[in-house]
């Protein structure tokens, strides 16, 4: 998928996709992603197995993440350069929202 297509499909990004991509800056399997996101968000977001499974399928199909290897039927993923590009643009968007919301908190 080209960067242009990925932008159209993933931006603005759901928080689920954002945290999954963010977690995959390091190699992780599905369950480890859930644990990492739970920690990052202080247990506000506890990803479910079905959500993780389908999100990983979608992200891999579109080339934002890739499989590094398999360990007893579990796939280990990492973000691709395309995924990093999209994640960075999403982070810029979040920064803009955050700036706009200043004074609210």
């Amino acid at each position: 998928m080209s960067l242009e297509q990925a932008r159209k499909r993933y931006l603005p990004m759901s928080e689920t996709m954002f945290y999954i991509l963010l977690s995959l800056r390091e190699e992780r399997h599905g369950y480890a992603i859930m644990q990492h996101v739970k920690e990052l968000t202080d247990a506000r977001i506890v990803l479910g197995a079905g959500t993780v499974y389908s999100s990983l399928g979608k992200l891999e199909g579109d080339g934002l993440i890739t499989v590094v290897r398999e360990e007893d039927r579990r796939k280990i993923y990492i973000i691709t350069p395309l995924g990093r590009g999209i994640l960075r643009e999403e982070a810029l968007r979040v920064a803009e929202l955050h700036r706009s919301a200043e004074g609210l908190l």
């Binding site: 759901s14 928080e15 689920t16 399997h29 599905g30 369950y31 859930m34 977001i45 506890v46 990803l47 479910g48 197995a49 079905g50 959500t51 993780v52 499974y53 389908s54 999100s55 399928g57 398999e70 007893d72 039927r73 579990r74 796939k75």
Partner: protein, 179 residues
Amino acid sequence: MKDKRTVLFSAFRHVIPADYESWLERMAAEGWHINHFRQWSSMVVTFKRGEPKKYRFVYDPQVSPRKDYIATYEQFGWEYLGRMASAHFWRMEYNHERPEAFSDSESVVARNKRTIFAVSVSFLIFLLLDLFFAGMLIFFPHSLSKTDRTQIVIAEVFFCILTILLGAVMLLIRKNEKR
């Protein structure tokens, strides 16, 4: 005291996935358990009596899951119960917070859309049968014997009712796609 309980057409009594899950949960809380789902469980399903348990069930239609499907769910602590047509079933015992396999609204809606898609396949098959039998009755009434005609009328009425039923099921799931 009986220790088996058979339920017919369970999938037609609780057509919304979330309702089917809750029904299984209520049965388990009363001590009625299913340990395996099979191809035709939507028609006949048998519960066995056991200890009351607090289970969360998950209904997940996946026509051709990737090979890490089972492993992913299992790692999250879900127990696999098999599949009923394209719908896979999972359960997990819990105490306080009810566990969710679909943790955001997008994936709940996607699960319900996959369910509608599965129903729509049967819907289309029955619709084609309707049109086929109606066509026979309308265009070739004289080349059929009286007995044939009676049988075809019965089949037509039966498939029409099924088609309308499945259409209503799809609309109902659609209306409740957020849960």
